[in-house]
């Protein structure tokens, strides 16, 4: 029996990918449409990008989103790596079941529940809603994703490397920083990037936990979208897609160079 894709396999892959990419491609294409109408192609133009950069509200929201993303992803990475270490290496400690439950539940928890519950917490402890509450909320729901990314790498990590470091005279904590961390760094960086993107992307939790003056980009886009399709939104979407694509290409190149 030969391995390899049959005609049916090829068609499945082709249709699947077309379904996944067609809307994105159309969105990008129409962001360069000079007409405001979606169904008419009126020629190539970058005018929507110009109006976009002139839109202070949108730019402020973008800046807010990037700041929230970077900070919350960093917090989530520290906590997520610690959680992964405890889960992979901690054995069966007291409270492990509750702990792993809390770590994995946010992966599937509907955002409305997470958002609402966090808001009630902030209200209960009298924390004014704003930049910091969104950061706390995002760090909480993204740390699970960091844990999953790092856990996989940690599971295949050869423990004798750490033992060798200790054997050669480094205390356990130093062995972790000198040997373990450099070797799981790609997974940690990947976890950070995932947390950052999830934070950038979040509408629901941010809507619940943000306050006046801390409106994020997805919240702005959402309110614009509710009013209908606009080429300006197409333009900012294209920019977001472009920057993510660029980040992935850079990551790929760096990784390819490292392994070469």
């Amino acid at each position: 029996m030969t391995r390899g894709p049959s005609a049916f396999n090829r068609i499945s892959i082709g249709l699947g990918l077309a379904f996944l990419y067609a809307p994105i491609v159309l969105l990008v294409v129409y962001s360069f449409n000079s007409s405001r109408a979606v169904n008419v192609w009126a020629g190539f133009s970058t005018r929507w990008y110009e109006t976009l950069f002139a839109n202070d509200q949108l730019m402020a929201a973008l800046w807010m989103t990037l700041r929230v993303g970077a900070l919350s992803a960093s917090i989530a990475t520290v906590l997520g790596v610690l959680a992964a270490i405890a889960l992979v290496r901690g054995g069966f400690f007291r409270g492990r079941a509750v702990f792993s439950g809390m770590v994995y539940a946010p992966l599937v928890m509907p955002e409305v529940i997470t958002g609402l519950s966090l808001l009630l917490l902030f209200v209960a402890i009298g924390l004014a809603r704003g930049f910091w509450t969104v950061v706390l909320a995002h760090a909480t729901f993204t740390l699970s994703f960091v844990t999953v990314a790092v856990r996989a790498r940690l599971m295949t990590f050869d423990r004798s490397l750490e033992e060798a470091a200790q054997d050669l005279g480094s205390p356990p904590w130093r062995a972790f920083f000198e040997v373990t961390l450099p070797n799981i760094a790609p997974a940690v960086a990947g976890g950070w990037a995932l947390a950052f993107i999830l934070s950038l992307d979040d509408l629901v939790i941010a809507s619940f936990t943000s306050g006046p003056g801390s409106t994020t980009l997805p919240m702005r886009i959402y309110s614009a979208v509710r009013l209908g399709v606009s080429p300006e939104i197409n333009a900012i979407s294209t920019l977001l897609i472009g920057s993510v694509a660029m980040a992935i290409v850079i990551y790929g190149v760096v990784r390819a160079r490292k392994t070469a």
Binding site: D158, S160, E163, A164, Q166, L168, G169, A175, E178, N183
Partner: protein, 379 residues
């Protein structure tokens, strides 16, 4: 313990009551849950000795070594190094270094930095580190590969890096966990000799863990044979091979023909035995009294095989039929059926290229052995 022949070499501190061991295990026990990995082990290793822990996988030899390195804590007993109790001393503070079975070479550091790691942890000055790394790389013949990353090295080179790294701190004791298991046969044999040379040259104490009896015999001054967490026998390679303590050791180290027998009479140093319908005449100082049930063991290479019957009055002759032949080039192994479903193994060195009348399957043959070839075992 049985002694055969003279003591092999002049280096034998274990026979000198005045010498003080470097490492001492005293009644050490380690349990993992219900499983007793190491069971009441007492053992002494002397300075400048090359000591091997030999046994099948799961016999507790690695656990014993890991307790010395500090990665496991004994449940009972104590371990001393140079007279100092190691209890409570973490691995990074023990003057012991280990070469790991996987080599555990840090993948993110180049060869030089791997070797320098332990020195850096010690806080050694940079110029001194550089000099020592160069010295170590020269020692293992890797001078030119200092800048290479681990994934650019062959298996043999990785093994050398691991060795250089473990030796760099000049430990009182070097632990080697199956150091050659990952190498192919030829390279393994070469490396074995290099390791012994290195150990003599550096004047260090080596403790190796291995499941490979050839490796243990080639490398070690003394071998401790372990099974089920206990040490079954400790001795020089010659002692454990030629005078095994029991059938278990006998069969673990090489092949052994074993006959169940009863002692008929003893006239030291000779003894007469009978069993499996045969009479045996053997020379063994430690043969138990007449009437005892014993096991007579004879190594295949200490047996002779011939088509013609040996001269009359030759002791220990067994008639049989060739059941199978295994030609190995340097040796040929014959399986000779001496009774229905009862076979003995005879090994013959192929000293000449041509044999006038080669033996073949189903040939009627005679197997014999000298009285001093047999060892009488009680268990």
């Amino acid at each position: 313990m049985k002694q055969i022949g003279a003591v092999r070499s002049s280096f034998a501190p274990w026979n000198d009551p005045a010498s003080v061991p470097l490492v001492r295990f005293e009644g050490v026990t380690k349990r993992f849950g219900d499983m007793t990995a190491v069971d009441d082990v007492s053992l002494s290793i002397y300075e400048r000795e090359f000591f091997a822990l030999l046994g099948p996988s799961g016999c507790g030899k690695t656990t014993l070594m890991r307790m010395l390195a500090g990665f496991e804590t004994p449940d009972a007993g104590r371990i001393t190094l140079g007279g100092e109790d190691l209890a409570g001393i973490p691995p990074h503070k023990r003057p012991v270094n280990m070469m790991f079975q996987s080599y555990a070479i840090f993948p993110h550091l180049n060869v030089e930095k791997n070797v320098a790691f332990g020195l850096r942890m010690e806080g050694m000055e940079k110029s001194a580190v550089k000099a020592r790394v160069e010295e170590m790389l020269a020692l293992v013949k890797l001078e030119k590969l200092g800048a290479r990353m681990p994934h650019q090295l062959s298996g043999g080179q990785r093994q050398r890096v691991a060795l250089a790294r473990a030796l760099a701190k000049k430990p009182k004791l070097l632990l080697l966990d199956e150091p050659l298991a990952a190498l192919d046969k030829k390279l393994r044999e070469e490396t074995q000799f290099e390791l012994t040379d290195l150990q003599v040259e550096l004047g260090m104490t080596f403790l190796i863990v291995t499941h490979d009896q050839d490796e243990a015999m080639v490398l070690a001054d003394r071998i401790a044979v372990m099974d089920h967490g206990r040490i079954v026998q400790t001795g020089t390679p010659g002692e454990v091979y030629e005078a095994p303590a029991n059938r278990q050791v006998a069969e673990f180290l090489g092949d052994m023909n074993i006959f169940e027998a009863v002692v008929d009479s003893v006239e030291p140093p000779m003894a007469r035995l009978s069993g499996e319908g045969m009479k045996f005449f053997v020379q063994d100082d430690d043969c138990p009294a007449a009437g005892s049930k014993v096991f007579l063991s004879v190594r295949p290479e200490k047996m002779r095989i011939s088509l013609d019957p040996p001269p009359a009055k030759t002791p220990n002759v067994i008639a049989g039929e060739i059941w199978d032949i295994g030609y190995l080039g340097d040796w040929t192994t014959y399986l000779v059926e001496i009774a229905p479903d009862r076979r003995v193994r005879v090994a013959q060195a192929n000293a000449t290229r041509h044999v006038e009348r080669p033996m073949s399957w189903d040939d009627k043959v005679f197997v014999s052995f000298d009285p001093d070839a047999g060892v009488v075992l009680t268990s």
